[in-house]
Symmetry: C2
Subunit: 301 residues, 2 copies
């Protein structure tokens, strides 16, 4: 049981209809790790600059996250993102993006992490995703994310990465862009033909779809009025999902479906506050209660 995540740890500034925050903890690997740590011990691999606040490191360390792979690079600056959400929070605009240290030499997977069982490659250049994956000896489950810029600018590299992972988690717009298929079931099947044995398509407030060779599953999002800031919802979803799967003996469709539920629940907490404000306070009891609430919400008798 060991879950490794590679991705971004950064500093965010966010504006939503519910308020604004400046210089808060963010990044794909951050949200993923905090969500996954609700279920299992997480090994975080990322690089930050020496401007990364000690309080943010402490926050990550206070969860069940091994920070041996969180490199602080002297003289470098941490990744920064500033964004603003639309009134309905279904769209967002990037106001500022500073790649900083993320644009330099990538982090290394520490030797002690080379025996990781489950690996999640958060969004980055697909070639780098494979480089990082090679540093893990024999993972039993590998999943990647991606985004529009790689789909459009590095299609060959992305295809190679899709050829070596077990699964991919991406959003509906990315799935359509990657496959030129408007219908999401068709898009999922087209991605399966590129290599992975499962595809998870995230649909934001509309939930997620799991496509395997012989099944299509749909999990609605947790319906709630308490949406404060959608930032990190997708990464929290992946974190809850993979954190749960790390504890599973087998990774069949039934396990994947249960994992999607945990991802949905993790994301539902993340969006209730800015940054990690809500997710960091979630207990195992909170998770269990919300899983029950979600089950009740979607149960068909």
């Amino acid at each position: 049981m060991s879950l490794l995540v590679t991705g971004t740890v950064g500093i965010d500034s966010v504006i939503t209809p519910h308020g604004r925050v400046t210089d808060v903890l963010g990044g794909s690997a951050t949200y993923f790790s905090m969500a996954a740590a609700l279920f299992t011990r997480v090994r975080l691999v990322a690089v930050v600059g020496d401007d990364f606040p000690a309080a943010f490191r402490d926050l990550l360390g206070s969860a069940d996250i091994d920070l041996a792979g969180l490199e602080t690079r002297a003289g470098a600056k941490t990744f920064r993102w500033k964004g603003e959400y639309s009134q309905d929070m279904n769209e967002r605009e990037t106001l500022e993006l500073q790649l900083n240290v993320v644009n330099d030499t990538p982090p290394k997977v520490p030797g002690a992490f080379a025996d990781s069982d489950v690996v999640f490659l958060a969004n980055t250049h697909p070639g780098l995703q494979r480089e990082l994956l090679k540093q893990v000896k024999s993972p039993r489950l590998t999943v990647c994310d991606t985004m529009d810029c790689w789909i459009e600018n590095e299609p060959a590299e992305l295809r190679r990465t899709l050829g070596v992972v077990d699964g991919i988690v991406l959003n509906d717009g990315e799935a359509r862009l990657l496959t030129k298929q408007m219908n999401l079931v068709a898009a999922g099947e087209a991605i399966l033909s590129m290599g992975p044995r499962f595809v998870v398509i995230k649909k934001g407030e509309h939930g997620a779809m799991l496509v395997t060779a012989d099944s299509v599953s749909v999990i609605p999002a947790f319906a709630t009025k308490d949406v404060c800031d959608p930032t990190g919802a997708g990464d929290s979803f992946a974190g809850g999902m993979l954190g749960y799967l790390d504890r599973c003996e087998v990774h069949d469709t039934a396990a994947l479906r249960r994992a999607l539920v945990r991802g949905t629940v993790a994301a539902s907490f993340t969006i209730e506050g800015f940054s990690l404000d809500r997710l960091r306070r979630v207990t195992a009891g909170d998770v269990d209660a919300r899983v029950r609430d979600l089950v009740a919400m979607v149960r068909i008798e």
Copy 2:
């Protein structure tokens, strides 16, 4: 056990990425009735012109639909709509709309239909919806639909109608327009405060949400690649839902949820063909099989 529907029976021409059809059977009450007839006997109240093809009347009559309330008005022309769907079929443009007979004196509810148990008032002027409802003596369940033009131009009339129905079925954009609430749970609750005891918000390919005073339920759409023409999906959803409820002793939240499943299934057949091409051929066995498939698709263990 008797279900009355008032609405439009018309002649459609439709263009989708999968083809085009000209002068086919359409209209809200048509789709509603054909879907509801999968579950119960339907009493259809609508008016057409004397240009309405005998073959269309025969098609409706071949299902479990009582046509005693389908008035053919001499010298009048049938409602006509022509529309074209976008590539992803999530948007459509009305290319041509001829209200024709729908703009004249409304139909009457036949005396033999005055004892109807369940009434669905498909979209029309909210004042007319109440006029039609008054012609039914003591229905045990009344549900209406509405659309943006009444929300914007007849808000007071619509409020009065909302004050006398048990439930409303409307789409997400309409719910947001009616309540100025972007969040659908909040929108649903705001509509409850206007009178109905339940609100069903249709989200197209993303399914439907049921909001009552003490519950929120979410049913995803049936995930399928076989989407040919979305026309009538929402009316078929309402038809499947109310057709099922007409057979239920009680109309509590559990029954409403089961009804949403039947609505989802009915809509999933409608969109597999143009006009009634697929829905008209659906058997009780097809319905049962698809309910099982939908349950399997959304089951959380």
